[in-house]
Amino acid sequence: MHNAYVIADNIISPLGFSTTDNYNNLLKSLSGIKLVDDQKIYPAPFYSSIICSDEIEFHFDRLNAPGIYTRLEKLIILSIKDAVQKTKIDAGNEETLIVISTTKGNIDLINTIDDNIEKKRLFLWSLAEQIKYYFNSVNIPVVISNACISGVLALIYASRLIENSVYKNVIVTGADIISEFVVSGFHSFHSISEAPCKPFDINRTGLSLGEGCGTIILSGDRNLSNEAGMISFCGGAVSNDANHISGPSRTGDGLFYAIKNTMEEMRNYQVNSIDYISAHGTATLYNDESEALAISSAGLENIPVNSLKGYWGHTLGAAGIIESVAAIQCLRNNILPGTLGFEKHGVSKSINIIKQSVKKEINSFIKTASGFGGCNAAIAFVKQ
């Protein structure tokens, strides 16, 4: 069995087009969440983290890419390109698989009748084909669309395939954009906060949506990375609450099982301690409460926890990836960003939520996620 090593990564968000820019801006407590007044997206102003279109065009123009791509496809291509150039892998050869994590893909095309960009790109497999053509891939990219755990699930999926030698390298990219569809839907659920989101805070009133894209390249061969400091997958698990499709479990049981199973797997990798938890922390009343219960049930009350939703908003299919990239940066730099928006403890269990950034020697972390459909996931990485 091979280990699955992190050989490169990237984050694209309003806080930058590289992992380093994003991580540095987290440590400066900068947020991409702003008041957005755009009638095309929602009838009233709302808080959201949106990437500047001109910046996307600026970066994408430099690629001189033939063909026409959607906003989402441009982000995916830019993110994969940036990560791949830090490695010795060929994104297109038969040893390499691309996995795309997205909840809604090109949903912004639902009302457009555009001659250049065919409407069929609403199909997630069609969007994957565009990425395949761009990178000249032998393998058809695999698309995972599993609500808000998509990103974490895609990383677990990729790691398991590498460990079983199905592929040598897997490029995992997660992306979602802000659209009228998604903003209207979350508003109809009354889950969007009227101020920037406040994860785990006593006064939290809901989430802020964000758009983003992130990539992690995993490989069975650590020598394919151009970067020093190796980090590898050391366990992961997925579970279902089997309780309710739109509300998280009141007991946190489902997420607890995912964390517990991940911890059991970690022991098989001889990783016996967890130094940091990167929570889902969407700042809805129920998510944060349920997550605190799960962390507490798993006996992890004292482990430093943060949520990064205050910086990027909830980026749906990208969340699990970009938040994992940030946590990987924490392993490299031993500085944990604080939970932006968090002021006063607002969950029933006393878990160790970090308010401001702290220096701490960390060797391993767990990243969690929960989503509609009752799904939960947890993944762990360790410094080698």
Partner: protein, 209 residues
């Protein structure tokens, strides 16, 4: 790999095939709603929630119901049953319905009851609720039924003993076009059926050969 296919069911063109044989058919042009209501009655489901589901979830739930989950899953540990599903159109059927409710500003009434079905993995959640399954989940999108995606992943789940049984399926629906194919695969300790879980067999059973 020591995984066998315990039972399998497919539904298309108003016909139900169970373990390769025609099980039930409705003649003529029957709308989806009428067809699924009839299956619900035939199965004696007694599950009122069924009528609230979107069409994709209805199709998934009915197909799974025919597999005989309770009788056929011999190991009671439902934390170790996985549900791995794939399709081509994601939840676009419901997405268009939701979009109708927000398209015009003067008729702007986004419905949370519809929005919640605008994710394909909701059908996995519905299967889990119905059968009290709490194990591994994954939803993949591919242009057409691709047994390789299932086999590559599901085998790693069995190998590492993360599951001892798995509901694996293709459930695709857009407007009047629909097609489902769901199998129950179990470690051979729990199933001694003749079909081994591997790519070629899966493709053959899907095609009804």
């Amino acid at each position: 790999m020591n995984v066998n296919i315990t039972s399998y069911c497919s539904i298309k063109k108003n016909q139900v095939y169970l373990n390769g044989k025609i099980h039930l058919a409705i003649a003529g042009e029957v709308p989806f709603k009428q067809f699924t209501n009839q299956l619900y009655k035939t199965l004696n489901m007694d599950y009122p929630k069924f009528f609230k589901l979107d069409n994709l979830c209805k199709l998934a739930l009915l197909t799974t119901e025919f597999l005989g989950i309770n009788e056929n899953i011999t190991n009671p540990e439902r934390t170790k049953i996985g549900v791995i599903v794939s399709n081509s159109v994601s939840s676009l059927d419901t997405d268009y319905n939701f979009n109708e409710s927000i398209k015009e500003r003067k008729n702007y009434f986004p419905s949370p009851a519809i929005f919640v079905y605008s994710l394909p993995n909701i059908l996995i959640g519905e299967i889990c609720i119905r059968h009290k399954i709490t194990g591994e989940n994954a939803f993949f999108i591919s242009k057409e039924f691709n047994p390789k995606i299932f086999c590559n992943y599901v085998n790693t789940l069995f190998l590492s003993q993360r599951v001892h049984g798995c509901i694996i399926g293709w459930v695709d629906l857009y407007k009047d076009n629909y097609e489902s194919f769901i199998i129950l695969a179990q470690h051979k300790k729990y199933s001694n059926e003749k079909n081994i879980f591997e790519e070629n067999t899966l493709l053959k059973l899907y095609k009804g050969e």
